[in-house]
């Protein structure tokens, strides 16, 4: 065994290929499929790590980002002075903020190879709980529901936020318990809580919406001048999601469970409890989304949001998170949220029927998932 080479590799460190004479693959690739040898570099020399370029191209996140960038450039060229303006981007950012928050939560769920269809009920319950909580706070002869947006106080906001998060927590716990402990397939478990949650929201509201301006400042105010709070909150949630998924042990375990539940259990991870936590994260994100929604739109929307689950799943899948679990990207989800929004906005601006957006998103979605499949297949070819 050549010690010289070993030293060299440990020097170049963990970031590079650990080509070594004892390499099992070195001998094996020689008599294996030639193309495999070519792509893997076959350990012939020390610098056989996949090139950064290859890694870039094979990354779905980069692909979707590329797609988004090209689309934006195209719209900017086709509609000069209309699409590529700051105000248009501000508007776009506000429009996608709530979906971003919800999609970050869903990214965790999908990373476990799960799915959360109950997002609409989470959002609507979040709205309704916020409103009901405001209704419990007496202000003068009425309640906090009826205060004007400039008369609101931090206390009302906190009460409403707590109520929204509580509804999300409850929904998430139910989802997590049914999926994690009762072993009900996620699609059916969350289909159940989708219907059940919406039903409860409608019962609480007697099927009608209530308006409130008490929370407006949460969405439209500007803590940082020039940046709407709603966008700021969205960015904060992305940041938290990024750390949670890619830097925290929590995210690592989430991915491990999504990659192989059995293996995760074997190494001693508490799979059931972790799934409970993950679905709770999803529920909290939905509930928080409801809070933001009632703040932004100044009303509950018990009949709205019905496709938010599909929009969130689309965004997550576009962003390179694998629906088979084990692979996830928070930044990808952020990009994935923008693609449908940019297409819609761009088509309207250049005067194309906006319905084409639905067609385009459908095509892109299928392509994105197909590329994920290809990657999986080529990756485990041996």
């Amino acid at each position: 065994m050549s010690g010289v080479q070993d030293d060299k590799t440990s020097e170049t460190g963990h970031l590079h290929a650990m080509a070594e004479v004892a390499a099992i693959d070195a001998t094996e690739a020689g008599d294996a499929v030639p193309e495999a040898a070519a792509t893997e570099g076959a350990g012939m020399s020390v610098d056989t790590a996949p090139s950064p370029w290859r890694r870039l191209v094979s990354s779905p996140v980069v692909m979707t980002f590329f797609f988004l960038a090209v689309t934006m450039v195209l719209f900017s060229i086709l509609a000069p002075g209309k699409f590529g303006t700051t105000s248009n981007f501000e508007q776009l950012a506000q429009n996608v903020a709530i979906l971003t928050v919800v999609s970050i939560g869903t990214t965790f769920v999908i990373a476990t190879a799960g799915i959360d269809l109950s997002i609409p009920s989470g959002i609507v319950l979040g709205e309704v709980f916020a409103l009901k909580a405001l209704g419990l706070v007496t202000v003068g002869s009425g309640t906090a529901v009826d205060v004007a947006s400039e008369d609101t106080t931090a206390w009302y906001v906190v009460v409403a936020l707590a109520a929204s998060l509580l509804s999300g927590l409850l929904l998430g716990l139910i989802n997590g318990f049914t999926v994690g402990y009762m072993r009900i397939p996620p699609m059916l478990a969350t289909l159940g809580t989708l219907g059940g949650g919406l039903g409860i929201a409608l019962l609480l509201q007697n099927g009608v919406n209530t308006a409130t301006y008490a929370l407006n400042s949460v969405a439209t105010g500007q803590v940082i001048p020039g940046l709407s709070n709603l966008v700021l909150i969205g960015l904060l949630v992305v940041g938290i999601g990024y750390v949670g998924m890619h830097r925290a042990v929590f995210g690592r375990h989430t991915l491990a469970i999504g990659s192989s539940e059995e293996s995760a259990r074997r190494v001693g991870l508490k799979v059931e409890r972790h799934l409970l936590k993950v679905y709770t994260v999803g529920g909290l994100a939905s509930g928080f989304g409801g809070f933001l929604s009632v703040a932004y739109f100044s009303t509950t929307s018990v009949a709205g949001h019905s496709t938010d689950n599909l929009q969130a799943i689309t965004a997550v899948a576009l962003g390179g998170t694998s629906l088979f679990g084990g692979v996830a990207s928070i930044i990808g989800t952020l990009i994935g949220v923008w693609i449908p929004a940019v297409l819609q906005n761009g088509f309207i601006i250049i005067g194309v029927q906006p319905y084409w957006q639905m067609v385009a998103v459908g095509v892109v979605l299928i392509l994105a998932i197909y590329s994920d499949q290809l990657r999986r297949r080529s990756r485990s070819r041996r």
Partner: protein, 257 residues
């Protein structure tokens, strides 16, 4: 009790008259077993002889109905694989228990991550330690340590699993058919790895159906049949025919318990 040499140290891991029943099936009928530190002990026997059940009792997956498990001569009670790990016993299962989408370092440290601020993982540190440990064990990784293990060959994956076990094991490493799915060259590499693990002073237990391979790598061979040990050999003092005879019940050198 069997006649153990008084001068020899207590076995790193031992089973004493272990019984285990699943419903009507008596999987283990008073089996005894010993693995010594610095030795490779092969556990062989026909399908259904109880090898895997015994390994699961030794690794804390199953609890014996009766009999004892001893670590360094001390009786221990293990209620989960985590208990076994705490005692320095690591197991490599047939299906490896790797998360295919995670890279080698993440798999090696899965569930035992090096942490920063309690909730974050320290990936560079884990990668460094993995690279070092792999180099020490002579596990060559052609690919980048950041590549998911799904893209590894069967032999590489097996090596990652064994290296992970070797890295955490203080005492004993149990391998359930580590070479069953491997080609000739990969098998040779894995056997080399097993020898290197032994040279670190660990007790290595491995199950295999490949008798020439058993004779090649094992220091001692213990043969199981119908849930009990029927024969023990030093690998230099036996041959394939004798092992087959023991497996099939035609030969025994074990005094009935």
């Amino acid at each position: 009790m069997t006649s153990s040499d008084d001068r020899s140290p207590a076995p790193a891991l031992a089973a004493r008259s272990v019984e285990k029943q699943f419903g009507q099936v008596r999987a283990l009928r008073g089996v005894s077993f010993e693995a010594m530190a610095g030795e490779v002990t092969a556990l062989i026997g026909d399908n259904g002889a109880g090898k895997s059940t015994l390994v699961k009792c030794l690794s804390g997956v199953h609890r014996p109905d009766s009999g004892t498990i001893e670590v360094d001569g001390q009786p221990v009670h293990m209620t989960s694989p985590t208990d076994a790990e705490r005692m320095g016993i690591e197991t490599v299962y047939q299906d490896l228990a790797l998360a295919p989408d995670l890279d080698a370092a993440s798999n090696v440290f899965l569930g035992r991550e090096i942490r920063k601020f309690r909730f974050l993982h320290d990936q560079p540190a884990m990668r460094r330690q993995t690279a070092k440990s792999f180099a020490d064990l002579g596990v060559g990784m052609v690919q980048d340590l950041r590549v998911p293990v799904a893209s590894f060959s069967g032999g590489q994956r097996q090596s990652v699993a064994i290296a992970r076990a070797a890295m955490w094991a203080q005492h004993v490493i149990l391998l359930d058919e580590p070479t069953a799915a491997l080609g000739v060259i990969q098998t040779a590499k894995v056997l080399d790895l097993i020898r290197r693990v032994r040279e670190r002073g660990l007790a290595v237990v491995f199950i295999s159906h490949n008798l020439p391979q058993v004779l090649e790598v094992a220091d001692r061979v213990e043969v199981m049949r119908l849930g009990a040990r029927v024969a023990r050999f030093k690998s230099g003092e036996t041959d394939v025919e004798q092992l087959i005879a023991a497996i099939s019940g035609a030969y025994t050198n074990e005094v009935a318990a």
